[in-house]
Symmetry: C2
Subunit: 349 residues, 2 copies
DNA sequence: CTGTTAGCGCGTTCAA
DNA sequence: TTGAACGCGCTAACAG
C-alpha cells in the first residue's frame, strides 16, 4: 500500500470529489469551509484512513509537528548504564509524549554534551535535520546562553525546564527554594536543630535555590547555619557517602540530613549504618528526588517530588500553542511540588 | 539563520562551486565521486555547518532516517505512572538511540493499545505520518499477526524483540527457556527440591518458553513438577503476592520460588515475611528481570538480566543495514543473558 | 564522473 | 467559498 502508493491527499480529494487544497483546508481547520464540505471531506479521510505525511507538511508548510528535547548526554547515559533507577527521562516521556500526541505532535529526544565545545554544533545539527516546532531544554541546558542564543538565532521557540530565570522562552519550574524550605521546616518541626545539607552540583541553578531555601528555614527559627553542616556535592551517590563520612567525624554530628538528590540521599543512607548512625533513630534523611529507588530502600526515604511529567507536559502545551498562534512567549510557569513523608524521618533522640 | 534562510544543499553547492546534485552524491556516499571533489564538497559542508533536512530527504528520496518503536500503551503508562522503576523503555532508548545516531537515524517511540480494535488504525496512522525506514516491535506486539501483516502490506521491514518465532522480520531475542533452566538449575544445585514457579502473562510467548525451561530443569533431575507449585501470574506485583499466599498454605510449601518478572518477585518477597518465611533463610527467590528495584530491595534479588539495550541496538543495526542494502531479512538473532547472584538465594535449611 | 530534469506530498500564495 | 499555480529541500532517474 505504501511502497508504491500510500494514501495521499489527492486520493482523498478524488474520493470526495474536490480539489486537494480543499482537503488540506479541512484538515488544517482552515477558514472558509462549509460544514457540508467539511463532512464530505472527513468522510473520505476516514474511509481511506488518510493521515498526512509529516515530512511533506514540514516541507511545504511551516510546521514540522515535532518537539525536540535536549538532555545532557553524560548523566543520561550514566543513568541508563548504571541502571540506578532514575526515571527522569521516563517522566519526561510520560508528560511530553502524551501531550504531544493530543495535538498530532511527536516528541524526540536528543542527547548533547553540555561540556563539549561541540555543544553548539550538536544542537545546530539536530535543529537543522529536524526543524522542530519547539525545543525543550532541561538542566543544565535550561540556563545555557550558548543554547538559548542559538535557538533564538534559528527563530525557534523553547521552554526551559527547571529554570526560574526570566528571559526568553517559557520557564517551567517548581519552587526549589520553597521545597527546600518546606523540607527543612518539617525537620525543624520534628525537633531537629542540627541539620546538615548536602549540596547539588554547583553548575545547576537549582542548587543555589535549594541552598537558599535551606538557609531561610534555619534562620527563620533564629538558628545559625554551621558551615561544617554544609557539605559539597554533585548529585552522585559517592558524594553522599563522602558527605556522611565527613559529618560523622564532627564533634557534634547532625541529627538530620537534607540531600539535594536521591542518589546522594542513598549514599548518606548506606554510609550511615557502618558509621554507627541508625536511620531514622539517630539520623533522619530527606531526599530531594522521589525516584523509584528511594521508595524501595530500607527505610524508604521521605522525599520532595518534582513534577517532571507535569513540567514536560506544560512545556509541550505552551510550545504547541505558541507555534499555532505564532507567538514568541517568554512567560514563567510555577508548578507545585509534593512532599512525601516516609520512614527515614523521625524526631531526634 | 533558519526562519528565512536555513543552510540548504544549494548553499553548499554554491560555496563549493558545483551543482547541488554533486553535493547530494557526496553526502550520500554515492558512486562516482573523485576524492578531490569529495573533499572540496565536504569542506564547504563543514564550513557552512550544513546538515540535510530529514523531511526533504524523506520526501525526495526513499529513506526517512527514522526507526519507529511500538510499545504497548497500557503497561508502559502504568509503569510510568506508578514509578515502580521498570526501566525497559530507558534500556530501549539506551540501545536504540545510540545505534541510530551512529547512522544519522533517530528513534521514535509510539504507544499503541494492543487490546483495542483500534490497534491497526493506530499503527497505520503512525506509519502513514512518519514513513519510518524500519519498525521495532516489543512484546506482545512482536508476535501479533495483525501488526506484522500490516507492516508487510506497507512494505516495511521490522524487528521483533523478544520473539524466537520464525517468520518475517528480524527476530532478536534471548533464550528465555535456557534462562529459566539456568535459574532453576542454580536452585537445584543449592540443594532445593521444592521449587515453585510464578508464571508470566499467558499472552506473552516468552511465558511458555520460560515454563518449558523450568520444567526441563526439574525433570532433568528426575524430579516431578508439583502442580500446586505452578502459580498463575500476569507479571504484576499483586500476582506475586497472591502466589506467595497460595504457596504458604500448602502442606509442603516450596523452599524456593522463581518468578517470571521483577514485580512478581517483589510481590513474593514482600508477602513472604508476614507469612512467616524469611528470605533467603526459609525461602529463596529468583527474579526474571534485573530492574533497578530488585537491586535495592532487602535482600537484593538474584536475577536473570535481559539484554534489552543490546537487543534494541541489534534491531536498529539490522534494520538500518537492511534498509541500506534493500534487503527484506527474516533472520534470527540470539543474544546472551546474564545471571546475577545476589542475597535472596541460599541453600534450603 | 558530473550536471539536468522531474517529481515526492503537502501548505501557501494567489485568482476565480 | 473553492481551485490552480508554485515551491519547500532533497533524491532519483536520466543525459552528457
Amino acid at each position: 500500500m505504501q511502497k508504491k502508493g500510500a494514501i495521499t491527499i489527492k486520493h482523498v480529494a478524488a474520493e470526495a470529489g474536490v480539489s486537494f487544497q480543499t482537503v488540506s483546508r479541512v484538515i488544517n481547520d482552515g477558514p472558509n469551509v462549509t460544514p457540508a464540505m467539511r463532512e464530505r471531506v472527513m468522510n473520505a479521510v476516514n474511509k481511506l484512513g488518510y493521515v498526512p505525511s509529516l515530512a511533506a507538511r514540514r516541507l511545504g508548510g511551516s510546521r514540522s509537528y515535532l518537539i525536540l528535547a535536549f538532555n545532557d548526554r553524560r548523566p543520561t547515559l550514566d543513568g541508563w548504564e548504571s541502571r540506578r533507577g532514575n526515571d527522569w527521562v521516563d517522566q519526561m516521556l510520560y508528560g511530553g509524549m502524551i501531550k504531544c500526541a493530543e495535538h498530532g505532535y511527536r516528541m524526540l529526544f536528543e542527547l548533547v554534551d553540555s561540556h563539549s565545545d561541540e555543544l553548539e554544533t550538536q544542537v545546530q545539527a539536530a535543529i537543522s535535520a529536524l526543524h522542530p516546532d519547539g525545543v525543550i531544554l532541561t538542566p543544565p541546558h535550561s540556563d545555557d546562553p550558548r543554547i538559548t542564543e542559538l535557538l533564538h538565532r534559528n527563530g525557534l521557540i523553547f521552554a526551559r525546564l527547571g529554570s526560574r530565570r526570566e528571559g526568553e522562552g517559557f520557564a517551567v519550574y517548581m519552587d526549589d527554594e520553597a521545597a527546600a524550605r518546606a523540607a527543612t521546616k518539617y525537620l525543624l518541626d520534628l525537633g531537629h536543630t542540627r541539620i546538615a545539607y548536602v549540596e547539588g552540583h554547583p553548575e545547576y541553578a537549582i542548587s543555589g535555590d535549594r541552598l537558599r531555601g535551606f538557609r531561610g528555614a534555619i534562620e527563620s527559627r533564629g538558628l545559625q547555619i554551621r558551615p561544617e553542616y554544609l557539605q559539597p556535592g554533585d548529585f552522585t551517590y559517592e558524594a553522599g557517602q563522602r558527605a556522611m563520612a565527613a559529618l560523622a567525624k564532627l564533634d557534634q554530628p547532625p541529627t538530620a540530613v537534607l540531600a539535594s538528590s536521591d542518589e546522594m540521599a542513598l549514599g548518606v543512607l548506606h554510609a550511615a549504618a557502618p558509621l554507627g548512625f541508625s536511620v531514622p533513630g539517630e539520623l533522619s534523611i530527606v531526599s530531594f528526588d522521589d525516584t523509584p529507588t528511594v521508595r524501595m530502600s530500607v527505610p524508604s526515604l521521605t522525599a520532595i517530588r518534582q513534577p517532571i511529567a507535569a513540567m514536560t507536559s506544560k512545556a509541550a502545551e505552551l510550545l504547541i500553542q505558541a507555534k499555532i498562534k505564532g507567538l514568541e512567549g517568554n512567560s514563567r510557569h510555577l508548578l507545585p511540588f509534593d512532599f512525601i513523608v516516609r520512614d527515614s524521618t523521625a524526631p531526634p533522640r
